[in-house]
Symmetry: C2
Subunit: 346 residues, 2 copies
């Protein structure tokens, strides 16, 4: 199955959801991966790759290495292998690999092509679509980066067979996010179908990718509707930060963040208690955490302000409007949020 | 005088060539400058700036600090001052400041606005137009960077009164470059007029900016004609590299590089000896160096290959076709170039 992406400024590329086909590239290629993925799947990938020259750079595994030092490591490898402006980087791994490979590609000689071959569910449904690249720094997550679209995305669901259960569930959280904010029909489908079935899984990946592709095509640079993809993230980022990025996977934090956003939505009358409960049930079906203990609501609230999405000291919230629709607003009263944060104890 | 830039993808901005007007900005602003410019002109600038919040980050002066460490210094300042996505960076200085400020702006939260207020002739006529940003690394110059257009460029020729004579001449070299490659009429005007006259100087800046703006509007990402702006640079970069960036100013190296390119153009019949001589005379009129001692022609030639402009191991040369026109070619025989390099002793 192929999803065609068309962005403004004549950018077009395909997202192929299928078993990996033979990829022939008449250019210099560098594959960026990490030791975990390399051990599990690199041999399989290299069997499917033909290039003029090919090398692999293995970067350390983990969010804590998502920084400028690792970017320079990738770039140095590219310079040492004398990549030129027609060369190609391939991101082979999860979201961290994808974000960093895309970022390095956007910087190398002011921008070369890159291809995504995502190996985790989260990166297949989310990070591989949309062209956001970047790294973390001491001030927060993804605060340094660029917009750089891949030339092609190849999603092979068979990579997911080796994915740890928690990571799989974290990916499902992003799928649910997509359904809650944009696609009621998809949400109902998710309630009625199980993703342990291979065919259902491929369908869910395709539906998510299609939804995200549609959103990004409307608003590549996140000046409007694209911000809705951050549903659950405003809260999720604070949770990740408070727990030093070592307690929850990103998708898990987003799952909890969605439950928090829903509680605010219920509080101000955008969503019924029953609809919020349906989201919680769907999350629980995949063992995605929905509870978090907020030690200090005021401190949690203060954390919002270094988030990229807030400007002029206003916090931008993405709140569901029932199921399948949402609003982006920076006019939620602090009291409403604090009340929810104080009472949050699911 | 205002030059209007219109680029593909609906990017538009003005280049104002005039005494600095009052600039009112209803957003957070960070001015990026260096100690030299700060001492000479910061007070004057700040008198003309009104912003919601304003701070200044002073970075070390010199090409050797044009690296990722300095970029991180600028970014850290921005994070510490809690810039948001609506904030603005102002590049206040020469080309190094401009390239780095633009680069930092392109990276901060995946891209915020920046304004150019260039203070050297070189940056006024060249670096401030076109949106190329970047830094050097151990592999070469400007090898890491992005394309990021300013929202406005304010060129105040009065800053040039404090510019050292050599730096002024280096800027004139880029003006001559523009005339040789694209504008015969302008070249003749330069032969007939002197730039120590204030009015002539403003005219020459405007003509250069207009020419470059036209080129960039045709080809923002340098996939075609824009490469012609690198006339003199293929050779110039090697000269700078061989002399460890401490002997010639960039514009001076480009001046010598132009003379080398002309010699190749004469060798293959694109230019007459007389035309090449006219370019040399014009360069000499401003004491721009035209001579360089090549120790080893083969080693000089080998240096071309890490240049960004070469792909697939072909070297892209920009050679004048008479005066006022040029060709971009990667089909010059190595022997022709080596012959010129061996004989180069102007």
């Amino acid at each position: 199955m192929t999803v065609k992406i068309e962005l403004p400024n004549n950018i077009k590329y395909d997202i192929n959801i299928d078993e990996l086909k033979q990829i022939k590239l008449n250019r210099k290629v560098v594959v960026v991966t990490n030791p975990t993925i390399s051990a599990l799947h690199l041999e399989y990938l290299l069997k499917h790759l033909e290039a003029k020259e090919l090398s692999v750079v293995t970067i350390p595994d983990g969010e804590q290495y998502k920084n400028m030092q690792t970017i320079e490591m990738i770039l140095d490898h590219c310079f040492e292998n004398r990549l030129d402006r027609k060369s190609l980087l391939i991101a082979f791994g999860g979201g961290v690999i994808g974000d960093m490979t895309g970022f390095a590609a956007s910087l190398y000689q002011r921008g070369i092509d890159f291809m995504q071959i995502p190996t985790t569910l989260l990166s297949q449904v989310d990070a591989s679509v949309g062209g956001k690249t970047g790294v973390n720094n001491k001030f927060g997550k993804n605060l340094i980066g660029s917009f750089h679209q891949p030339i092609e995305v190849n999603i092979d669901p068979s990579f997911l067979k080796t994915l740890p259960k928690r990571e799989f569930a974290a990916g499902v959280a992003e799928i649910i996010k997509m359904a809650v904010t944009f696609n009621k029909e998809f949400f109902v489908w998710l309630e009625e179908n199980a993703l342990d079935d291979e065919k259902n899984l491929a369908t869910a990946i395709a539906k998510s990718v299609q939804t995200k592709a549609w959103v990004v095509s409307q608003d590549e640079k996140e000046q409007g509707i694209r911000a809705a993809l951050n549903y659950g993230h405003t809260f999720g980022h604070v949770i990740e930060n408070e727990t030093n990025y070592n307690t929850f996977l990103h998708g898990e934090a987003v799952g909890i963040g969605m439950v928090m956003a829903n509680a605010v939505a219920v509080e101000i009358g955008l969503m019924t208690q029953k609809e919020a409960q349906r989201v919680i049930e769907l999350l629980k079906k995949y063992d995605i955490p929905t509870a978090y203990n907020i030690a200090d609501a005021e401190s949690f609230y203060a954390h919002f302000f270094l988030d990229k999405k807030s400007s002029d000291n206003k916090i931008k919230f993405i709140l569901p409007k029932g199921i399948g629709d949402c609003v982006i607003t920076d006019e939620i009263e602090k009291e409403n949020v604090i009340k929810i944060l104080k009472g949050f104890n699911h």
